[in-house]
Structure formats: C-alpha cells, structure tokens
C-alpha cells in the first residue's frame, strides 16, 4: 500500500513537471519576457509618478513577467 502511494506521488510529480515544462517558454521567449519586463520597469521608473503609483505599476510589471514566463 505504502509502495503504491509513493509510486502515485512520484507519478504526480513527473506529470506536473512534464506539463510545466511543456508550457514553459523556449529560450527566445524567455529573452523576450526579460526584455519586456525591463522595458516595463524603465517606463515606470521614468514616469515621474508618486511612489505608491510606481509601486503598483512595478508590481504589475512583475506579474506580467511571471505570466509571460509561464506562457500564459
């Protein structure tokens, strides 16, 4: 029973990894995500906006970067 549970867990992990890697962007896309993230931050830091707004926009840049890297 215990052996079966370990095997099921291992299967689940491999399945998740396979799914994640199949969705992960290739090297070119990662470079694009990095570039877009950098541009987003630079535009934001040069907005002359109050700091709270800058913080919100920088956070949006980070979320956009995360989504880009996950291929969403």
């Amino acid at each position: 029973m215990k052996k079966l549970a370990v095997l099921a867990l291992a299967g689940l992990m491999f399945g998740t990894a396979a799914l994640t890697f199949s969705m992960a962007p290739d090297v070119y896309d990662q470079a694009l995500c990095n570039r877009n993230h950098m541009l987003c931050r630079e535009y934001t830091l040069n907005l002359d906006a109050p700091w709270y707004k800058v913080m919100v926009l920088l956070t949006a840049c980070d979320i956009g970067f995360g989504k880009c890297m996950l291929g969403l």
């Binding site: 993230h37 931050r41 700091w51 707004k53 956070t59 980070d62």
Partner: protein
C-alpha cells in the same frame, strides 16, 4: 543683478553660524514658445551647457534646446536606431562642444555636436538612465538594476571614447524586484572637478563622494534638518517603510541641492517644493522654497531650472 547663491549663503553663514537661511525663489516669466517642437512630452533630464539649456524629451525622442530665459531655440534627434536617432533618451549632458545623450532603449551613449549633428556613440551593456560629463572628459552613466541578480553595478564611468573605466555602487538585492527598485533609486551629480556624488533617493542619509577613477573620496552624512519623509508600501513580502530622502539633486559652486519629497494626497510621496542647500560637510545651510514642486532641476548661481508636474520647463530665481 544675479549674484551667486553660494556667495549669498557664505555671507549669511558668517553672520549666523549654524542657522539655516530661509530663501524663496520666484518664477521668471518665460517667453511664449508657440512652436509644437517646443512642447515637452516627457522631459527626463536637464543640462546646462554654456548659454543654453538642453532637455532630453523621451516621448519625442529628441533633445530640445532652450535659452536660459526659456526661449525655445531648436531640437535635434528623432526616433530610430541609426546615427542621430534616439529611443527614449533619458539623460543629457553638455561636455564642452559635445552633447552626450543616454539613448536608453538603444543601449548606448550617443554624442552630438552642439548644433545637433551626430558625432559618434558608444554601446553600454545595460540600459543607460542618466549621463553626466566629468571635468576630466570621463563620462558618468547610471543605470537601473534589473532586480534579477545580485551584484549589479548602478554607476559606470567611461573614458572620453567610451572605454569602460570603472563601475561600482552595487545594487541591493532582496529577491523582490519592486522593493529593490526603490532601494536602488539613485541620483548622480558631477562635482566641481572630475568628482561626482551619488545620492540614494530613499533610506540612506548619506551622500557618496567619488573621484572619476571610482575611488571613494568620502561619505557625507546629511544634516538631520533635511527631513526624510516616510512612506509605507505593501511589497511582496509585506509592508515596508521607506524613508523618502531626496526627489531630485543638483550641484553648483561647492553646494549640493537636494529636494525632499513631499506628501501627496495624504499617503503618497511626490516631488517637493523645498530644496535643501547642503555644504561639503553635510550641513544644511539654507532651504529654498519654490513656488511649485519640480521633478528635476539644475542650478546655476541664483537660477534654478526645473521641470514641474505637467512637464513644463520652469525657471526660478532666488530672491535675496
């Protein structure tokens, strides 16, 4: 008519040692600039050069040239990647007969003559933010860290031809790129010789003083009377308090000019209307009250050239 503010402060200090002089600046009415090219879209840097003022307009991908009375004279640069073309110019500096431009999204520093003709460029391995000319011909360039790795330098010095000379001031790294962006916001200002100062916009009350070789000349601890403004911001790993120390900075005739941030709508921080005048020992010598807040400014004697919240060029004169 125009006496140097530094001289005025010197006289004041002699009379009242330790006292902070309260000065006011009045706006000088500028000429009407009717041309479309005179309108500033996103003015991100100002530089005085001889008898003119250069303004880097990132939106129009151009450098706009004004007289010291605010009259629009000409513009140069256009959007693109070729010689003389710019992509988001975020910094400008005058270096004798040359004008240096931080050509951000082309990752280079582009050189123009004073009439706007392209005169060379050198690539930099980061997105340049501000550029400054040092007295020995060296070129000081700052960059915003990406926030993705440890050990990124945010201040770089190149020789006249663009060869790397020194890089330093390591960006703080916590793994939260948003928090780190605030911690690593700096302002660099050239001093009188080939030296320069680095001011952190939040947190640090210290100003770092470097030679153009990168050697640290000293650290100036700024007078407590130049008050930091705290702000609590909700970062990824919880709320953190930042001490807003400086919104913009300039240097003129041995004095550092630091504008303190000011509260905006109760909970936010924006540009302030007061400029602290700090001497080489970090002592607050005077406070200049402007009629309106400015995002960035340069100082020459009693004149202050700034950009306000609407992106308008404003010229002020300190009233004695």
């Amino acid at each position: 008519m125009i006496a140097a503010l530094a001289l005025a402060l010197g006289a004041a200090a002699g009379a009242e040692e330790g006292a902070v002089k309260r000065l006011k600046a009045a706006e000088i009415a500028g000429p009407e600039n009717a041309e479309d090219a005179a309108v500033l879209g996103r003015p991100l840097a100002l530089a005085l050069g001889g008898d003119v003022l250069f303004v880097a307009d990132a939106q129009d991908c151009a450098i706009k040239v004004f007289s010291k009375e605010g009259r629009f004279l000409r513009a140069f640069g256009r959007k693109g990647q070729g010689p003389g073309e710019l992509s988001f110019p975020s910094g400008v500096a005058a270096a004798g007969d040359r004008v240096l431009v931080a050509d951000k999204f082309n990752s280079r520093v582009q050189v123009f003559d004073r009439d706007g003709r392209p005169a060379g460029a050198f690539a930099v391995p980061f997105l340049p933010d501000k550029v400054h000319a040092l007295a020995d011909g060296a070129v000081l360039v700052t960059g915003n860290p990406t926030g993705k790795r440890k050990g990124e330098a945010i201040v770089h010095v190149f020789d006249r031809s663009g060869g790397p000379r020194w890089e330093g001031v390591e960006a703080g790294f916590s793994g939260d790129p948003t928090y780190d962006a605030f911690r690593n916001m700096i302002l660099a200002v050239p001093g009188e010789g080939a030296d320069f100062y680095v001011v952190f916009r939040s947190g640090e009350r210290r100003v770092l003083h470097f030679a153009s070789t990168g050697a640290l000349i000293g650290t100036i601890t700024v007078d407590e009377r130049h008050a930091s403004r705290p702000i609590d911001l909700p970062f990824k790993r919880g709320k953190k308090r930042l001490a807003g120390f400086c919104w913009a900075a300039a240097f003129d005739r041995g004095l550092l000019y630091l504008s303190a941030p000011a509260p905006v709508d109760g909970k936010d921080l924006g540009p302030g209307r007061e400029i602290s005048v700090i001497d080489a020992a970090g002592v607050l010598r005077a406070v200049v009250a402007l009629p309106r807040p400015v995002h960035r400014f340069v100082v020459e004697g009693q004149r202050i050239f700034g950009v306000d919240d609407e992106g308008e060029l404003r010229i002020f004169e300190v009233v004695r």
